[in-house]
């Protein structure tokens, strides 16, 4: 896998639908320190659009978002 990222916090969002993945991500990010990385897995295809949009509106950094079959894996670095 290209650019393997080490995650500080892991989150399982599999089976959850809009708007819950965003809620869980925002709650997880809130508890993290700046610079730490969150890794999450989800199955809702809406996440593919929503996670980039969420990081854009909150100013956090989306390191990667990949789809592997039904599973979507993404990494977010807390910027603020």
């Amino acid at each position: 896998m290209p650019g393997q990222t080490n995650a500080d916090v892991k989150l399982n969002l599999e089976g959850l639908l809009c708007p819950i993945p965003i809620v869980k991500v925002s709650q997880a990010i809130k508890t993290m320190e700046v610079g730490k990385v969150l890794e999450a897995t989800a199955t809702d295809p809406g996440v593919l659009a929503d996670i980039p949009a969420w990081t854009k509106s909150t100013g956090n950094e989306l390191i990667s978002i990949e789809r592997d079959g039904k599973l979507i894996r993404f990494h977010i670095k807390k910027v603020k």
């Binding site: 959850l16 708007p19 819950i20 991500v25 925002s26």
Partner: protein
């Protein structure tokens, strides 16, 4: 001083589908760190009622009976068919694992979304503060809603 990029949602409709959309948007905004206020007016009040019967006068009691509040009593704007549609929607939401409306409302509350009831609507429909869920704020009027809206980047009317 309030942040200048909040979100204000005026919930006028008491229809299940529209209320669901309103809570969804509010949750999304709150999860993005925006100060989010929901102003419940007219039929929208039903979404923050406990669900018990309301009204003092004859008309008020009729209204309370025929237009009963409570997040689990409200039906969709289309295909309700006296409650059959509501039941059908709930079943479909359950089978697709969509978060039920009551849980959505609780999520919004947990994220700090403020639920503001409209005083005028409450008086007209004879709904008292004790008929509303405990998480609802003090009732207010148009000026309060506008003050929030002036400091918002986005104001929606649902």
């Amino acid at each position: 001083m309030a942040k200048e990029d909040g979100v204000t949602i005026i919930v006028f409709s008491g229809d299940m589908d529209k209320v669901m959309a309103a809570f969804n948007i509010a949750i999304g905004a709150a999860a993005a760190g925006k100060e989010t206020n929901m102003f419940f007016t007219f039929w929208g009040i039903k979404a923050i009622q406990k669900g018990n019967l309301t009204g003092q006068g004859f008309f008020g009691r009729m209204m309370g009976l025929l237009n009963r509040g409570g997040i689990n009593t409200i039906g969709p704007s289309r295909f309700n068919f006296w409650g059959i549609g509501r039941w059908m929607f709930k079943q479909m939401m359950k089978s697709h694992k969509i978060t039920p409306l009551e849980e959505l409302r609780q999520t919004a509350i947990d994220l700090g979304v403020k639920l503001l009831p409209c005083e005028m609507s409450m008086q007209v429909m004879e709904i008292k503060a004790e008929h509303l869920i405990d998480e609802a704020e003090e009732s207010c009027g148009v000026a309060t809603m506008l003050e929030k809206a002036f400091h918002s980047k986005m104001t929606l009317f649902v």
